[in-house]
Amino acid sequence: MEIIKTIELTRMFGDFIANNQIDLTVEENEIKAIVGENGAGKSTLMNMLYGLLKPTAGEIYIRGEVVHFDSPNDAIKKGIGMVHQHFKLVPSLTIYENVILGIEVERKIKLGKYSFSLPSIDHKYEAKAIQDLIDRFQFGLKSTDIVKNLSIGAKQKVEILKMLYRNVDIVIFDEPTAVLTPQEIKAFFVTLKELKKQGKSIILITHKLQEVMEVSDSVTVIKQGKVIGNRVTKETSDKELARMMVGREVLLNVEKKYQDYSKNEIVYEIKDLTTYNHDGIKVVNGISFHLRKGEILGIAGVEGNGQSELLDLLTGLSQSISGKIIFNGIDITNKWPDEMRTQKIGFIPEDRYEQGLCLDMSIAENMIAGHHGKKEVCKHGLLLTQKINEKRDRLIKSNDIRVSDCEGNVSSLSGGNAQKIILAREFDANPELLIAAQPTRGVDIGAIEYIHKSLLNLQAQGKSILLISSELSEIMSLADRIAVIYKGQIIGEVNGINASREEIGLLMAGICERKPENEVR
């Protein structure tokens, strides 16, 4: 039976058509995967199903009945729940407060046969009710724990609990595995199958095609706001899905030639680097590694294990309390970013809009950001507009950046094209070392392919690359050596060529057998 059916569902933002006459059918008790590139309109579609956005035109039917949602509450009442990619949790509250948020239980007093509600929240009752729910689904959490102290996997369970507590029978998951370790992903699939067994219907939004193949019953591919096709999972392949998403053949994994770099000179060395965060916790705790000429070192790990803080240290955004960074024999510990740039270190920051680009400035200005003092674009403290524009045009052309208006602001570009601007800028400065963090986060498959090829090209020119990424497949297909970071420490290192997902996954979860020979360093 069809549990959800949309007919010619359309949503416009101004002139832009985000969803164009979408017909989607979800059968009862199936796991439906919806795939598409970033910006294809998956989120818009889900937000309409969940009542966060109102359709411009078209109808939504739930169990054959037409519905109009004004808010997520209406959707929940009809049995639709959503687990968002970016968790919508309140960090300072406890698990039970988060689960029960919006439907708090208030203390009651009884006078004879009348009972009155007091305006005071019954914390004790709430904590117990949620603990019961946790135990019933065997989630292994404590309802009174504060959410900000939880691991990502646990936070996701809290999001699922939120929906289970509200008795929904259709659960939408938006990119649920983006931030999980391989083991957590496995555990998550078990949860999914358990939910299915209990009669829930599931919509899975993702761009990881192996996962679609592994767990879903049927697939709908969306491209540029339109449904490109529907497939039964058993009768399709990830290659076919990728071709449908992008509209051409794509390499899912770039080809890499592995070499032995162990004889090359060390260009970049980190010794015992340590720093505190705002709360006085050692978030980077005695990290050491080195990078040889022409080598790509990948740093894998579950997000939130100190990668961001390590990156801030390496790029001069924060200060270390001990340890050293040595580049080509020069001590550059705690130098500022511009000093590092003059040493020929390039950066691809993890958040391109926060640290990599200035959204309200023009493409040309962003193309020289960080290099704006160089002679080629700046004379006597004045910027040479013509030279800068020439540089912009050259880089736009050589990097195939799709811009509608080259005088426009960066904010008008898609994620992939914005990332290409950073890439173009950093590569053009001809760095000896490139520190690339999450280089393909939130960009489409076509751009991923381009970025990966560019990185390998840079390596082929004998440059070294430090690649920090939470996307394990990215690290595995690019890095020569893979170091795994866990709770602010490098917990282990494996060779890129014969690394296995399981081995790295265990390290990412903090499980390692320390062999005696590893101690020698």
Binding site: P72, N73, K88, L89, L101, H278, E354
Partner: protein
Amino acid sequence: MDFIIKIFSDSLYFTGPILLCTLGGLFAYKANMINIGLEGMMLFGGFISALILFFTHSWIIAFIAAILLAILLGLLFSYFGVTKKANFIITGFAINLLAIAVGKYVLAALGSIDINVISDVTRQMAAIDLGIIGEIPVIGPIINKQSFLTYFSFILIFICQFVLFNTKFGTYVRVVGESEEAAKSIGISINKIKYLAVIIGALLCAFAGYNVAINQLASYTPDITAGTGFIAIAAIYCGAGNPKNSSLYAILFGLSRSLAVNLSLRIGTIAGLLEMIPYIMIIIVLTVVGIIRKRKTLYRGFLHE
């Protein structure tokens, strides 16, 4: 000894209005809307209550007028700051400037330098005699003979603490301030919560204005607030919006104002300098709080939280 008792007694006297503004403003602060218009809202409250009392001779009507105007100001501020998403710093400043201008205009129209309502303020309104409690040595004379609103402001600390942490509304205020996305995803009306938070602030500021203009001074001039609303903002910031902590800072600022007044009465000619004490105190406290918060961070430049 009498002098010390006087200083502490006056501290309570000055703390009352600061506390009211602080506790009012912290709801908006917790909902991630810094209400810079506390000062103007308080001044409006003092102005309207003195004006209405002057013409009607009824403190009840004056009080109701202050409440109504406060709600109106709260709606105005929220309409621009929340619904229209205007910059609420500018909106707040507009209210501050408007409050001064309206007061001055009406005074000019009345042809007076103040609105004197001393004949309508009874002794009970100005200072409540607590009777036997006032007889307790040392403490008695300190806490005795304050206005009702001053006593109320201290009780309000606990009420606010309860509301913020033990009621739905308080929880929602904190949730809206901490994560609008979380609030939106479970269907909390963010705008409604923000409106309410701002209106509560406006109401308590009006109480503060009433307290100063009617209970304490029995007259209105455009400078009666003397920066109380801004002092409250400093207190809210220093206490990170926690009612108990912010109140402690409010009390500290009340004490310094009391010191300024009492010391300058003793000293004479350079008395004017001492009036700077509360304001210098704020700068010092803000600096110290800032340094303590900054000390732990190794991050360079401005960090988005």
